[in-house]
Amino acid sequence: MAVNIRRPAARDHGASRLARNLFFGAALFYFCVPMVAVLIYSFSTRWTANVLPDGYTLQWWQATISDHRIQSAFSTSISLATLTALIDIAVVVPAAYWSRVRNARIRPVVEVAAAIPFALPYVVIAFGLMQFSGVVAPQFQGTFPLLVAGHAAIAFPFVYWAVDGAMAAAGIERLSETAEACGASPFQIIRRVVVPNISSGLVTGGLLSFAASFGEFAMAQIIGRGLDTVPLWSAEMIRSYTDTAGSYNRLAVVTLLTFAVLFVLSAVVVYWNRGQTVRLLPGAAATDEGGRR
């Protein structure tokens, strides 16, 4: 019996092919034009009247890169994000390891905690943290350590999911049992057995939490008053529109730099995970595992 088998995606009709191409063309346009606009803005002298800027210049790039305030904003943001990633790795790895090899009751507790920053807006968490710190430790308000703690708290699920997944993939329970049978101490096991076997999870989780902290604005604005991170600087610029000072051109440069940092991080994550850009809806893996157990 000859059955004309076609793929479900429409490929055969001229009309539907046209519709398809229009659809993808519109999507391409929508996603590319804003980036191009920001890029041109960063190189333009004045751009308020004509279709294209009146002239092109490198002065904004030079001015921005040599600006002390922007340099210090970048160094604040980078140290904030680095500390966030390191703290998250330091607190998550032992907990995830212990929940796998000794105390299974740790897992549900951590998973409920991970749902908080996943579902609740950062504005809400930040406001709550501000009120709470006002009650217990007012001297920390508006300081760098409080913001680090806040960022570590909202970014920890990225590290937890990455590390826990890597532990599952490496079969850490058996490895650790074997190491224990050979007489290794818990610290030796963590350092010599666990860490080397979950390095991909550590890199992925660390980079994701770094990125989450680097681009974070709401919490920085609410509990980091007096600090100067890159998103806070950008917010100030976007509000103080004065064309004479060229603040928008410099904002264009900083926007591109921020974007470049975040993009490189996500590209490294994709590369590190062997081209798997795609992941299932968050929480799916955990639910799935629970269902199969």
Partner: protein, 310 residues
């Protein structure tokens, strides 16, 4: 998972040397420490920076600023104010609109990308990944540079002689256009794996059984994908409710004419609210929490349903 239920070797030893029927407090403490110690730093971080703040907000929403015991007074006062009702309503409308547009555009996009050849698939995934990283203040600025009053597209269209007024920066359409820029890529990246669940043989089998494409989608494709798409919709809904940076960047420009959103109200209540103080922000924050929690519970339910097909 046999290892998990295994008693801890050291504690077992201690208990047997104790020998009594009820282990001493010290022994119990040791057992507890051995079971929980490595998790304590994480639990400390989580309880001080996530759980305590949530509890404090709920508490403050009922006590005002702790003067007069528990009461619903502040709730009535705040929810009776027009500006707060407006903020809640606008936030919900924006989130529903945004996630629905995301679904309508994102689902076909995800489907078609999932059926592409490797090369163009990689290109689109890369592009979407790039767009998903563009957010916050930077995206608000990109909006202005593109279709703001003197944005690139505005100038081009006006240059062609067409009278074109871009939506005002703090208006609903502007926020929609800007939000979709990250929402659609996120939705597509999250739902593409689900698309591969729909196997080619099922379409072939349906064709052998003389099904048309419409019947296939209504009886097979639709029902299988629906829970995944619904879960994605809920996720985008929740995230859109909570967006702050883009809204702050855009709505800051038009000041009084800007839309009222819950997140923006929380932010501004912190800076200048003499009348009800942080109590108002606390209530709005709790309202957001209720929406987010409900949505998350529904999301989990949908996901459990969806994963039957894996």
């Amino acid at each position: 998972m046999a290892t998990l239920s295994r008693p801890i070797a050291k504690v077992g030893g201690l208990e047997s040397t104790g020998g009594s029927a009820s282990p001493s407090l010290l022994t119990r403490m040791r057992g507890w420490l051995a079971a929980w110690l490595p998790a304590i730093p994480l639990l400390l971080l989580v309880s001080t920076c996530l759980i305590a703040p949530v509890v404090v907000l709920i508490w403050q929403s009922f006590t005002g600023m702790g003067e007069s015991g528990l009461s619903l007074d502040l709730w009535f006062k705040v929810l009776g104010q027009h500006v707060n009702q407006d903020a809640i309503f606008t936030s919900l409308v924006l989130a529903v609109g945004c996630s629905t547009i995301t679904l309508v555009v994102g689902a076909p996009l995800a489907w078609m990308i999932s059926r592409m050849l490797r090369g163009s698939r990689a290109f689109w995934l890369g592009l979407l990944n790039v767009a998903a990283n563009f957010g916050g203040i930077g995206l608000a600025f990109a909006y202005m540079a593109t279709i703001g009053t003197v944005g690139m597209l505005t100038l081009i269209v006006q240059g062609l002689g067409i009278a074109f007024d871009a939506p005002r920066e703090g208006s609903m359409p502007a926020l929609l256009v800007a939000y979709e820029y990250t929402n659609i890529p996120l939705f597509v990246l999250l739902t593409i794996p689900a698309m591969s669940i729909l196997r080619e043989d099922w379409w072939e089998a349906a064709q052998v059984a003389a099904a048309t494409r419409l019947v296939f989608w209504r009886r097979i494709g639709g029902p299988i994908l629906a829970p995944f798409l619904a879960a994605g919709w809920l996720l985008i809904f929740t995230w859109t409710l909570g967006i702050y940076g883009i809204a702050y960047g855009l709505a800051g420009q038009s000041g009084a004419t800007a839309v009222h959103l819950i997140t923006l109200q929380i932010g501004s209540a912190l800076q200048s609210d003499v009348l009800l103080g942080p109590g108002r922000a606390a209530i709005l924050a709790v309202v957001l929490m209720v929406f987010a929690t409900t949505s998350l519970v529904l999301y989990r339910t949908m996901l459990r349903r969806a994963l039957r097909w894996l």
